[in-house]
Amino acid sequence: MQPFSTHTGMVMPLDRVNVDTDQMVPKQFLKALTREGFGRILFYDWRYLPGEKPNPEFVLNFPRYKGASVLLARANFGCGSSREHAPWGVKDYGFRVVVAPSYADIFYNNCFKNGILPATLPEEQIEELFQRTEKEEGYSLTVNLPNQTIADKHGLMFKFEIAPSRKEVLLKGLDDIGTTLLHEPDITAYEKSHAATATMFDAVDVKYYSNGH
């Protein structure tokens, strides 16, 4: 996974609470077989009019936010469905950072699997950032993960909290599976002592492909 250390980029405000993952990537795009290409359809129903004509009223289509890479959002961002297609879309569109007062748990977790930093700031600070973004065309922020700071070029500087283990994952771009497999002997020991088995007592109508287990 792509490591994350510091990032400077233009801010795009999404002034709406409880943005759910159905809005980020609607169901008709859940039939993909790969993780790629979701940036083009991010916020599809808000972003496009019939015939995939860009909706001029949706913030993502405002010319002033073209090239934004910091997504400024409201409370409970990413609620609803567990679809990882949502963060795939956020990342593929070009956002490296989301800044919001709070996140839904599954979306928050999924961000770290994809090298996106979901930074959390108090409501008042988020409000301040919304106002500054509105006022200044091309408003950008520098997000520094090692120092846990978000700053603009006018001297604004906010500190954000993040669990040390989450921070490490992003800084090093860690492969979770590889890390867990370092502890394979512990997993085997657990399995031996618990012997969790799925014993089938009755025939059910299932295609059972035994591969030697």
Binding site: R16, V17, N18, D22, Q23, P26, K27, Q28, L30, K31, A32, L33, T34, D45, R74, A75, N76, C79, G80, S81, S82, R83, E84, P87, S102, Y103, A104, D105, I106, N109, N110, K113, N114, S165, D176, I177, T180, L181, H183, D186, I187, Y190, E191, H194, A196, T197, A198, T199, M200, F201, D202, A203, V204, D205, V206, K207, Y209, N211, G212, H213
Partner: protein
């Protein structure tokens, strides 16, 4: 962090018994007992494994089913949706190559993943269960720790049979008293979400208790746990009891005879200890809960059937005002409209929330001898599984529904998510027993009102919402 040993919550007990490894300052590695997968969120996980040359560690603990995109009509016909077909083919191939059991769309045990887990006894108390689907919380009704995960975590579980997790906070939700006639499990959970808000449970695992919860059947308990995620908590649990054990006995994957008794003895220990501390507690009184109807674009935007569509200015918070305004615009509703005056175009009784036998029986009992209103364009009954469908047909429920003008369909996720042909058309309004009323959820520009099965059935007959408590023929329904 670790509470006194004699005062553990149910969540702590299950967590502690699944820790594979704990290092100071790091999240824990916890073992996953059952991994459920479906066609929608698993192909990229298998592709990831393949790219790294990794194998499925425990195919015997992994169960696959086709549910999200399956047709609910004739499955002998060719699959016209090529993207869906590619996903079905990928699941079939991935299961075959890795040795995973698959309930394909033609299996007689096929159904929605969260319906067939419990139905076949794959779901058992004290387990950890995950699935790449947020409604995995359903399985918590059995006193399991069950939650939804993203595709990267699906890949992680396939490769390691473990997940890297930090302990959640705990939320105790108590519903005291007796449910009034016509007030169902669905109404309880909608009222809970209305009270705590859709982000109210973020960061928490919920445990439900109180007389109104304990008196629910397993079908009702699953409805409550299913929608826990709509209040922000990833998992919802109900301690197992005699109702749970009676439900499980004799199911295909449940131990038999002496082994069952031994399992029950272990399962009986799965409850929060007297004096266990929760990080947050919420209490409701069932007597004060009326049938619920959502009016907005998230499950927290919900009212009693007796009330009116709210005005944005009823809310103090500016963000809530804006959200309400936007929701009313999307839903095509005027503030102040009585909920019972809202007309309905289509009715959907189904989904992992409300497609079990209790749900179908309650709806059938209500519609027997009646007919759907002329204004209703479509009324769908989609059983959660083929097992449920077969049993319902034995009981003659299909005949009751079709005589009343409903369509009797095959099992799957159907119009809850609209990934197959069952889509709610633009600007049409549904009474739906599903779990999400987000913008576009059932179809682009569609308008969803979440209700219980009996409320949906009543709306189908009347053509608009009605307070089922005011009707004579509503028995004590789940």
């Amino acid at each position: 962090m670790t509470a006194n040993n004699s005062h553990k919550t149910l969540y702590q007990k299950i967590w502690d018994s699944h820790v594979v490894r704990e290092d100071p300052g790091q999240p824990s590695i916890i073992y996953i007992d059952r991994h459920l997968i479906h066609e929608g969120t698993s192909p990229q996980a298998f592709a990831g494994l393949r790219a790294e040359g990794r194998k499925v560690r425990r195919p015997d603990l992994t169960f696959a089913v086709m549910d999200h995109s399956v047709s609910t009509t004739d499955r002998t016909l060719p699959i016209l949706d090529n993207d869906a077909k590619l996903q079905f083919d990928a699941l079939e191939k991935n299961c075959r190559e890795s040795g995973v059991r698959l309930f394909d769309m033609n299996s007689k045990n096929q159904g929605i993943v969260h319906i067939i887990g419990p139905e076949l006894g794959i779901t058992q108390p004290g387990q950890t269960i995950v699935c790449g689907d947020s409604h995995t919380s359903t399985h918590g009704a059995f006193g399991t720790l069950a939650f939804g995960i993203g595709t990267s975590e699906v890949e992680h579980v396939l490769a390691t049979q473990c997940l890297v997790q930090s302990r959640s906070k705990t939320l105790h939700i108590l519903v005291h008293g007796k449910r009034p006639k016509g007030v169902t499990a669905k109404d309880l959970i909608l009222a809970i979400i209305g009270k705590i808000g859709i982000g109210g449970g973020n960061g928490h695992v919920a445990e439900y208790g109180g007389e109104a919860i304990r008196s629910l059947s397993m079908d009702g308990r699953m409805t409550v746990c299913n929608m826990t995620i709509e209040g922000g908590a990833r998992a919802g649990m109900i301690a197992p009891d005699e109702t749970t054990f009676a439900f499980l006995e004799g199911r295909p994957f449940v131990p038999r005879g002496k082994a069952f008794q031994e399992a029950v003895d272990r399962w009986k220990l799965l409850k929060s200890d007297e004096g266990a501390k929760f990080d947050m507690t919420v209490e409701l009184h069932a007597e004060q809960i009326a049938p619920q109807v959502t009016w907005g674009t998230n499950p927290g935007m919900v009212s009693s059937v007796t009330s009116r569509v709210p005005d944005p200015h009823d809310f103090k918070d500016l963000n809530d005002q804006k959200a309400t305004e936007s929701a009313l615009k999307y839903m095509g509703l005027k503030a102040g409209t009585p909920i019972v005056d809202i007309p309905v175009d289509r009715v959907f009784i189904g989904s992992c929330t409300n497609s079990r036998l209790d749900d179908l029986r309650a709806a059938a009992h209500f519609v027997e001898g009646k007919h759907i209103a002329k204004s209703i364009k479509q009324a769908l009954i989609v059983p959660g599984s083929r097992g449920i469908k077969t049993q319902a047909e034995k009981e003659g429920l299909d005949k009751i529904f079709t005589a009343a003008g409903f369509e009797w369909r095959d099992a799957g996720c159907s119009m809850c998510i609209g990934m197959n042909a069952d889509v709610l058309p633009p600007h049409e309004r549904s009474a739906s027993t599903s779990n999400r009323n987000f913008e576009g959820r059932q179809g682009k520009d569609s308008r969803t009102h979440l209700v219980s099965p009996v409320m949906a059935a009543a709306a189908a007959i009347a053509g608009h919402f009605v307070d089922v408590r005011s009707l004579d023929d509503v028995s004590s329904v789940e």
